[in-house]
């Protein structure tokens, strides 16, 4: 039975249907049909021959539901996948799609918070520096993902944080 997905990369949407056929998979991407042979290699690693074009791809979940990292051609590409019909329903209902902004600012790596530049109630604009986390001997500026108001600042100057710890909450 064919499966129908919505994959989003860099805000570009791909409407993808997949089904088994004799020699591999028939994959229809935004209406264009491709014959794909796919071979599992080590764990997350696979070889795809897309209409004979050769790609080595590594796909893995990166934490959140539907989020994927694809390692291909030397690059890591962030992608989001969802059941197509579910995605349409959500859209119709006005629910946030994968492009929506996560307003919880989390630590992107373990490190030490060395400076916090905002306080609850501050108005911030997208790209504004919120705090500085030191890791690997470097100071990393954590920026606001969108315009908003600072709701809470769980992070404390001088404290260690683990990857994924909430630093700043914006609404």
């Amino acid at each position: 039975m064919p499966q129908h997905y919505l994959v989003t990369i860099d805000e570009q949407e791909f409407d993808i249907e997949v089904e088994f056929v004799g020699e591999g998979y028939r994959v229809t991407v935004n209406g264009n049909e491709h014959l794909v042979r796919r071979f599992d290699m080590e764990s997350v690693h696979s070889l795809m021959l897309v209409d004979h074009m050769s790609y080595e791809a590594f796909v893995r979940g990166n934490g959140e539901q539907g989020q994927r990292s694809v390692f291909m051609l030397g690059r890591e590409i962030d992608a989001h996948i969802e059941d197509y019909n579910l995605a349409q329903l959500k859209k119709a209902a006005g629910m946030s799609g994968p492009g929506a902004v996560d307003t919880t600012v989390k630590a992107p790596m373990p490190g030490l918070v060395i400076d916090i530049k905002v306080s609850p109630g501050d108005t911030v604009s997208k790209g504004q520096a919120l705090c500085i986390v030191e890791a690997m001997k470097m100071e990393n500026v954590i920026k606001a993902p969108a315009d908003g108001t600072v709701k809470a600042v769980p992070a404390k100057t001088g404290s260690s944080v683990e990857k994924g710890d909430v630093l700043i909450d914006i609404e």
Partner: protein
């Protein structure tokens, strides 16, 4: 007086430790690794002949602790220490300590390190040696901001405020106009004080489109000092080099000779010994200015090795043994072109934010013209404690054009999964027309990528990635469905399973 070095302790980790160990093995010298707690299975430990633990993961409790390193040297019976770059490599007190302990420190004498490590003293030495300096002034006392401003105005804006003890962009500020000067001065000084324990700063004229071009030198105890061509290191992010090449696209034989002889002059002036690098800024009119001397092996030394055919680490060991350099200036001949891409565990599109994790896949490019100096292998962890560089990919071609072609090929062949890397960033830069034309300066990245967005995917790649994600999900869902049926089959290799599954599919499964 020559001495034979039989065993070298490498007071470092990562790719440079591996690089030095390879030279040791080539020379039939035993190598000793040291490792912190999180590095117990690190690649440099696996490549070494011997390995000693030196403390907890933070570098100030392990790689930077004199006593722990000296103790490992004692226990192993090492007769020399190679500091690599970073960590203790430019620490004159450590070099002195080695001397006192009767260990050969592979580098310059402690006094030379101390002298050249102080930017103001280095500037003075350069002046004495007759090297051209960027117009600039020392500011003794940063509290007298009016006097400092007067000096800045004399130099002319834009002006650069630099920490005397600085490095890596810390304690550095560009000031475009007089109004901003006082605050910049104070901030640079306090940053320098907290980073280096030394708040002294000085001023330099700020060149708007300079290239960073450096000369590799090598000096022995017998008075021989030679230069080994230049490296163009203008592609920098956060004042850190990310792509280096040799020769420089703007170099002429005349300019090389002038810059090379200038580098040799300051080496002679300071009694320089062993390998070193004299850094210059080169302006658009090809006038050049002394910047600083790095009293150690550079990260980017392989590009010089590939065009000269000489092994710089071996050269360091020869010199440290008190021998005469086995080659003279006239033996240094450049051939072809080499480019190095530093592969960092960083996300280029998030301001080069470090990325930690375990390398669930790691496959290096190979084939003609490709050299990879890596500090990792498959399964390696990228810890949070150290510099996030995982490898240096260096390519050689008979021309710059061939080198760029091979470099792009090799980057595409690289497979790293588990952390974000700068590979996509390099791919973007190598396809940039200005880069291809050799039209670069230290401001290249900010001019060409003002929004710090480097990774641009073409439609075909994006579509293929989308298919990979969909097929992965499809296969996983199917695997769950098929699970029960597959359990009947005794365990076989994954490969057999793949073929079997494929056959099932062929039969209409």
């Amino acid at each position: 007086m020559t001495r034979k070095i039989k065993k070298i302790l490498i007071a470092n980790r990562g790719e440079i430790a591996v690089r030095v160990m390879r030279a040791c093995r080539d020379l039939d010298i035993k190598s000793v690794a040291v490792f912190s707690e999180c590095d117990s299975t690190a690649f440099h430990v696996r490549i070494a002949d011997e390995a000693y633990p030196i403390g907890p993961s933070p570098s100030n409790e392990s790689y930077l602790v004199f006593d722990n390193i000296i103790e490992a040297a004692r226990k192993s019976g090492a007769d020399a220490i190679h500091p690599g770059y970073g960590f203790l490599s430019e620490n004159s007190a450590f070099a002195k300590r080695c001397e006192e302990e009767g260990l050969v420190f592979i580098g310059p004498k402690p006094d030379t390190i101390a002298l050249l490590g102080d930017k103001l003293q280095a500037r003075e030495a350069a002046r004495r040696a007759g090297l051209p300096l960027v117009p600039g002034e020392d500011i003794g006392d940063v509290t007298d901001t009016q006097a400092a401003l007067a000096k800045a105005e004399e130099i002319g804006f834009p002006v650069l405020v630099k920490a005397a003890a600085g490095g890596g962009g810390k304690g550095m500020r560009v000031v475009n106009k007089a109004e901003d000067f006082e605050e910049a001065l104070q901030r640079a000084s306090s940053e320098a004080k907290s980073a280096f324990g030394d708040g002294r700063v000085f001023l330099e004229r700020y060149l708007t489109h300079p290239r960073h071009v450096e000369i590799q030198i090598m000096a022995d105890e017998h008075g021989n000092v030679i230069y080994l061509g230049e490296r163009e290191c203008s592609i920098q992010r956060r004042h850190q080099k990310v792509i280096e090449e040799s020769p420089s696209p703007i170099m002429t034989p005349e300019l090389r000779k002038k810059m090379g002889e200038a580098a040799v002059s300051i080496a002679r002036e300071t009694g320089y010994l062993n390998a070193g690098t004299v850094e210059f800024m080169v302006d658009q009119d090809l006038s050049f200015y002394f910047l600083e001397v790095n009293t150690r092996l550079q990260v980017e030394h392989p590009v010089t090795e590939m065009v000269t055919g000489l092994d710089l680490v071996k050269g360091q060991v020869y010199v440290a043994e008190g021998k005469e350099l086995p080659y003279g200036q006239s033996d240094v001949k450049l051939r072809g072109h080499a480019i190095e891409c530093r592969i960092y565990a960083e996300d280029p599109d998030s301001g080069f934010m470090p990325s930690t994790g375990t390398l669930s896949n790691y496959r290096q490019p190979a084939g003609p013209g490709v050299r990879v100096d890596a500090g990792v292998t498959i399964g390696s962890q990228i810890p949070i404690y150290y510099d996030p560089m995982v490898a240096k990919m260096v390519v050689w071609g008979s021309t710059r054009e061939e080198a760029i072609g091979r470099c792009k090929r090799a980057l595409e062949e690289y497979r790293i999964a588990g952390v974000k890397t700068t590979i996509g960033f390099h791919q973007t830069v190598l396809n940039n027309e200005r880069f291809v034309a050799g039209d670069i300066s230290t401001r290249f990245l900010e001019e060409e990528y003002p929004d710090n967005k480097y990774i641009v995917l073409d439609d075909e790649t994006r579509r293929a990635a989308a298919m990979a994600v969909a097929l992965d999900k499809f296969a996983n869902e199917r695997r769950i469905t098929l699970g029960r049926r597959e359990n009947q089959i005794p365990e076989q290799s994954r490969w057999v399973n793949v073929h079997r599954r494929l056959n099932l599919k062929r039969m209409g499964g």
